[in-house]
Subunit: 153 residues, 2 copies
């Protein structure tokens, strides 16, 4: 249902949300999100194009969130790479349907609506600030290593 | 959120659901669903591969549902072309996550669950048997024409 790009974008944004005030080097991003670097570069460009992150490409480059993790929700991230669209008029362009959707497209639109509401209500802060249970991208060993590697920069 | 292929597969199945006992010629299918014929051919192959339709390709070919419209739901159709998968273990393969999903993947899985439940509960019969309001693929003029064109075969 969600593309690989969507999954990767969410991973990258979750990682950046752990370090909202720091430029995270792109090799660290690639390693921690387990996304192939060339694929990740494209995803980061899209996120940057949507003004969700700022930074610079290339050697020595890195990225950080352009807003606080509390101000970016999952839908913002998804919409930056693969927008979820409501169906507002007949996709077949049938004249006497118009905005009066048939049962097929009404159901598809309901699905879009439910998903939009679900993701709109979850910020990046909600994803990474949980203190108990497993945390995005982090097993215990990696979490420790990551903190060290970024704070040295 | 849903691919073009998913949209086209649902259109094709809705059309076939109007005529559960007849082989609908592929040119009619293409015309009424407004799907490019070569694209439609691939979609029909996938639906046939999932045993949702039976028929034959090529000139003089056509397709019909392999079961009654009451026995095929929207999820069956979607899963035939672009399966919606639940997330059951950590997509990053983090050892200490396992099936204990982090908040990110728990939300993504919730979305998949909601969508599965929504589409599982709607059969093709539900889509085409509505008597009031607009009906899938049909404006009033086309609906009349379609009945005539198929019943002549």
């Amino acid at each position: 249902m969600f593309s690989q790009t969507t999954e990767y974008a969410l991973r990258a944004m979750a990682l950046l949300a752990y370090y909202p005030d720091q430029l995270v080097p792109t090799p660290t991003l690639a390693e921690e999100t387990k996304v192939p670097p060339t694929y990740l570069a494209k995803v980061l460009q899209q996120l940057s194009g949507a003004d969700l992150i700022t930074g610079r490409r290339g050697v020595g480059g890195g990225y950080k969130l352009s807003k606080a993790p509390e101000q970016i929700n999952m839908l913002d991230v998804i919409n930056a790479v693969a927008p979820i669209r409501r169906i507002t008029t007949c996709p077949l362009g049938l004249a006497d349907h118009g905005s009066n959707l048939c049962p097929l497209h009404r159901r598809m639109d309901s699905a879009a609506k439910v998903i939009i509401e679900l993701f709109e209500g979850v910020t990046l802060a909600d994803l990474v600030n949980q203190r108990e249970g497993s945390r995005p991208l982090c097993d215990k060993a990696k979490a420790a290593k990551l903190t060290v590697s970024i704070s040295k920069k």
